[in-house]
Symmetry: C2
Subunit: 267 residues, 2 copies
């Protein structure tokens, strides 16, 4: 496994004084939530609320999933300044997203925070690859992910995004927002030039339109979650031909799109 | 109870074909997720992803929680157009949030979607009222809310926000994003000119910085949740003197701020 959660990283949780129902006081670990401002060249793009690990991957993945950074060949530098809480991504070609950002202001939702119109347009040309997932691999992934030491098990109140191949978790990111965890995954894929055609993405969060759009942008054909669906998320998965599996707990699940990639053991 | 969830509302869920782990196919209810664009006079402010009920309350509450609509006296009209999926809020005084919106573009996070800088500034002057919550009322609220027929019990994948007084839930809104459900609550409070000094807000979502800021904006002194905390959420609750109770399940909970409002039965 390339990257796994580091629940002992002292920067990611803070011990805070709590009192419980028995009237007992003690210190419990609580996840951090801090702003990170992402610049593309000299333009301020967004401030994300994040736990703060992997800021460069978050910036790269966010910009890529937004369609503002299409390929690494154009990338010149990625600079992180911890004191200023900023990441500046520099490209060789000039960028100007004044108009795009204006559109974002006008169309991004509270629940979305993305240049939604553009991302919907980009979906029109998505053709997700053929791939397979064995039911037994899916159950194994779910078991491995749930049992792996993580900030979720340590402190709760956090979402995970796990890039998988077969029954193996490859990279496991966590963040306060499920979309940040997915954007970090996109950044890792971009930085390491990983092929996504045979990968599966596991998220602990709900399968909303935004999650399906990001997964499609990343070229990943299979998306699964322990949580449930929204109807628009299902619509978009069906439209892009994505395999969408939710409510995966133990050896139970629901599949609502892309049945042809799932290989069931029990015929 | 003034407003409770309507899980049988045919506009809020859609039956979609699913296959489960046993290979059986059936139709399951999935919550809708649709865009709603909010205008303030002739200015487009935001597009929220919402289940779609109470669009006017969502618009009113969102604008109020953003500091763009301070009082009802200034309100002229609220028009909802279902076909265009828009709400237009009209005020007597002229509004111009070009600069504010620019700031939003620059500072709103994926996880936030709010004019964050402004809301942080507004917190400086917040003085939350004295109030009390009995432990037994808290447990009663939790039990009533969890057992009440809701979209959550019907279809899952949705958050709830419940305005309470003593052991009584008064209004219970649901939405795909926890902040939308809270904004609808703010809209209802504004529209009905409700005093919030003796109220408690229950949310099913995590107690993040954004949730604490919105609750403070609404003048509600007590915020509780079945979910966990972020460290910044706790910081802001302590700063504004808000009572913050999380991980409320059965008769268990954790309190991390504003201990003086909680009346424990077991001394």
């Amino acid at each position: 496994m390339f990257i796994k959660p580091n629940p002992k990283d002292a920067d990611l949780t803070r011990k805070l004084r709590a009192m419980d129902h028995k009237g007992q006081s003690f210190d419990i670990p609580i996840v951090e939530e801090r702003p990170l401002t992402i610049f593309l060249n000299n333009q301020e793009i967004v401030t994300a609320m994040t736990i703060g690990d992997y800021p460069k991957l978050l910036a790269l993945g966010f910009l890529h999933n937004q369609g503002m950074l299409e390929n690494l060949a154009d990338l010149q530098a990625v600079d992180y300044d911890e004191d200023l809480a900023t990441v500046v991504v520099r490209t060789k070609s000039k960028t100007d997203y004044e108009e795009k950002l204006k559109k974002k202001t006008q169309t991004s939702g509270c629940a979305v925070g993305t240049v939604f119109g553009d991302m919907m347009d980009a979906l029109e040309t998505v053709a997700l690859p053929k791939a397979q997932i064995h039911e037994r691999d899916m159950f194994a992934l779910s078991r491995k992910i749930n049992q792996m030491p993580s900030l979720y098990l340590e402190a709760g109140a956090i979402h995970g995004s796990v890039l998988c191949e077969g029954d193996e978790p490859l990279v496991y990111f966590e963040d306060v927002g499920r979309h940040n965890a997915v954007d970090k995954t996109a950044g890792w894929i971009l930085q390491n030039r990983i092929s996504t055609a045979n990968k599966t993405l596991y998220t602990t969060g709900r399968l909303t339109s935004e999650m399906v759009i990001k997964t499609a942008r990343m070229g990943i054909p299979i998306l699964m979650s322990r949580s449930g669906f929204t109807a628009w998320g299902v619509d978009l998965a069906q439209k892009t031909g994505m395999t969408l599996i939710g409510r995966l707990r133990g050896e139970r699940y629901m599949i609502l799109s892309g049945y042809e990639r799932l290989i069931r053991e029990r015929a």
